[in-house]
């Protein structure tokens, strides 16, 4: 039985790569999409050698939304599972000073991902099946002084995924929202993260594959985050605004 292809958007990121490896292990052909996709040539060879699946590379820029239609049309085969690992954290201090930089963070975490998933959703809808996975963030659960530009864009993306799920649930299309919590990636390198709260990219990938298989809607990678965010969301604003979180 041949398995359907899996599209990874943002395939150069650590999480994107880990998810690609996970689905390749399960025998799916893999489509890797990223800016400067040719830099993934060695990863393509690696995955083909390890798992004996076919891997294709596709140039994709989340911010060039005008090209998204052409990108989807250019895929060798319509994927049945699409995972969006596109994102940009930026520096909060810089985002406060530099509006252009803040807008880039907002577009990278919301506009770009939402645009490509909207197009894929419509194609999946025509086809009557498919799974969309959006990697959002616990930072979107409540705006905090330390990263609210990033957080607000992720909040938008989380709401978008929730709406998409609501719209497509009756059509046999499943949407998964992933809230990873801290992950040890290039994006967080050099940050002093607590080990118990920090997942490896491979844990995120395992959680995503499980969520796709079991049709979960919203997942936290380490369950402790569900509790942490429950508490953070429920702190009264009057108190929250004075807190350093």
């Amino acid at each position: 039985m041949t398995k359907p292809p899996v599209l990874i958007l943002g395939a150069r990121s650590d999480i994107g790569k880990a998810v690609a490896h996970k689905f390749a292990t399960l025998g799916h052909p893999i489509q890797l999409a990223a800016r400067n996709a040719s830099a993934l040539e060695a990863d393509k060879t690696d995955m083909e050698l390890r798992y004996g699946v076919s891997v294709s590379l596709h140039e994709f820029d989340a911010l060039t939304t005008a090209m998204h239609e052409a990108f989807v049309a250019g895929l060798p085969e319509l994927p049945r599972i699409a995972v969006c690992a596109v994102g940009l954290m930026g520096q909060q201090a810089e985002n406060e000073r530099d509006v252009a930089e803040a807008v880039r963070v907002m577009r990278s975490n919301y506009e770009g991902p939402a645009s490509i998933l909207a197009l894929l959703a419509n194609r999946f809808e025509e086809h009557g099946s498919g799974t969309l996975v959006g990697i959002s963030s616990v930072a979107g659960d409540r705006g905090r002084a330390t990263n609210y530009v990033y957080g607000s864009a992720k909040a938008g993306f989380t709401a978008f995924l929730s709406g998409l799920r609501n719209r497509l649930a009756k059509r046999g299309i499943h949407v998964v929202t992933v809230l990873p919590g801290f992950v040890a990636t290039q994006m967080t390198e050099g940050m002093d993260l607590p080990a118990k709260l920090t997942a490896e990219p491979s844990e995120v990938a395992d959680a995503i594959a499980r969520a796709v298989e079991r049709k979960k809607d919203v997942i936290y990678v380490r369950t402790i985050w569900r509790l942490i965010m429950l508490i953070i969301r429920n702190i009264p604003e009057r108190i929250f605004k004075r807190m350093k979180v």
Binding site: D14, A42, D43, T45, L49, R50, Y51
Partner: protein
């Protein structure tokens, strides 16, 4: 961040980098005053820790090429042996040489020039390595092999990452018909019998003994010697022969907490050792064992290093020359039994010939033990060092966490040559680990 080896002793505060590309790696090599590469952290002590710059190769872990005619695999240094088995055992290939854990990287296996249960027959890891790409202190990459730049090759195998950063290597895999091992267990009532068993079993592909290091008197050195051969298809039941590379998925156990210090004392260890011996002695004979249980029994218990408690443990592994092995082993075992500080995991093995600039093995016998890292046992380890030196033996750097520079130079005359070579090639100032500084390498 806090960093330690698999023995969790010592623990040092170190800056860790995980470069994603060769360019990022080169930048680190050129900009950091000194550094050391780290694979998957399975060396027991401080071999792969540099407090100012430890370079993890976890993201340099791609397979590059495989030649099904020759079994040659080319891969980046961060690839795990376990990844190689997962990818290639279903196609009929297995590592030529493997240590007791599959969670080691290719780069780490080269740096420690690891050995396996087939050392007496096939030699150390070196014998399956066709070439290695090493990044030197100038950021340039040199490909070395037994034929090209043999001086570098000779010192990179077993050089503990002190000749540069191992980037890629070509290794030859072994063709196998099944994923199973035919294991024969022989109970040896004492050391003499165990050694005699090894000597008569020179033709066995694999041989290793679990040794009860608390046995005294006539029981001194009582062992279960385990011999192994790769099973061929005809050895399997018709049902297993249908899918010769498939084994039952194992339940993964893990040790979730650090055991309290009192959990391992001479009583529990003595009881465990006695039970293990008698259980094994009842089951002597030949049986089929899957590759994972045979080669990596401890890998099934994730985090087994925690049974020694929060303070961690120290490994002791020495090699003794053949003609002095019996005397040396007898003295070592007597000292351990008297101290009463036994170890769950005491292993005895016959080594074959080895000809290397700085690799650990030598023709003779090797004994490996672990002890909780306590004052009392650290003092015992010092005495074991002296016994080893008195019998012409040397120590395995991948397991060392506490030896002194004087002990190293007394046990291994090659250390001076290794150091001089490092000096003359500009390695000494650039590639350093906590261990190399302690041992003045």
């Amino acid at each position: 961040m806090k960093l330690s080896g698999w023995g969790r002793y010592p623990v040092l505060e170190a800056r860790v980098y995980r470069p994603r590309s060769m360019d990022a790696l080169r930048d680190l090599v050129l900009s950091e005053p000194n550094l050391i590469a780290r694979g998957n952290g399975r060396a027991y002590g401080d071999s792969a820790i540099n407090t100012s710059a430890t370079i993890e190769t976890s993201y340099l872990n791609r397979m590059i090429d495989f030649n099904p005619a020759s079994g040659q695999l080319v891969a980046e240094a961060g690839v795990l042996l376990g990844d190689i088995i997962t990818a290639f055992l279903p196609r009929g290939w297995f590592p030529m040489v493997t240590p007791g854990t599959k969670f080691v990287t290719l780069g780490g296996a080269i740096a420690a020039d690891v050995h396996g249960k087939n050392h007496h027959k096939d030699g150390s890891f070196r014998s399956c390595v066709d070439w290695v790409d090493v990044m030197g202190p100038d950021g340039a990459v040199r490909r070395c092999s037994p034929y090209d730049d043999a001086a570098l090759f000779d010192r990179t195998l077993g050089g503990m990452g002190l000749t540069g950063i191992n980037l890629r290597a070509a290794i030859r895999l072994r063709s196998v018909e099944t994923a199973w091992i035919r294991q024969t267990t022989i109970a040896a009532p004492n050391l003499k019998a165990a050694m005699a068993t090894f000597e008569t079993a020179q033709d066995a592909t694999y041989s290793v003994a679990w040794i009860d290091c608390l046995g005294t008197g006539t029981n001194l050195g009582r062992s279960l010697v385990m011999l192994g051969e790769h099973a061929v298809r005809a050895d399997l039941s018709p049902q297993k022969a249908q899918t010769p590379f498939r084994i039952k998925a194992k339940r993964k156990l893990s040790v979730p907490i650090d055991f309290p210090a009192f959990a391992l004392n001479s009583l529990t260890v003595r009881a465990f050792n006695a039970l293990y011996y008698w259980a094994g002695a009842r089951k002597t004979g030949t049986q089929l064992v899957d590759w994972d249980s045979y080669f990596y029994p401890l890998d099934a218990i994730l985090g087994w290093n925690r049974i020694y408690g929060r303070k961690g443990f120290a490994q002791f592994q020495c090699a003794l020359p053949l003609d002095r092995s019996e005397a040396g082993l007898t003295a070592l075992l007597a000292e351990i039994a008297t101290a009463g500080s036994g170890s769950f995991l005491a292993v005895l093995k016959r080594f074959g010939k080895q000809d290397s600039a700085f690799s650990f093995p030598m023709e003779g016998y090797t004994l490996a033990l672990d002890f909780p890292a306590m004052q009392k046992t650290l003092a015992l380890l010092e005495r074991l060092d002296q016994i080893t030196i008195a019998h012409g033996g040397r120590f395995y750097l991948a397991k060392d966490s506490r030896m002194s520079a004087a002990t190293l130079s007394a046990s291994d005359t090659r250390a001076a040559d290794f150091h001089a070579h490092r000096d003359s090639h500009g390695y000494t100032s650039r590639f350093r680990s906590a261990q190399s500084e302690r041992l003045d390498l």
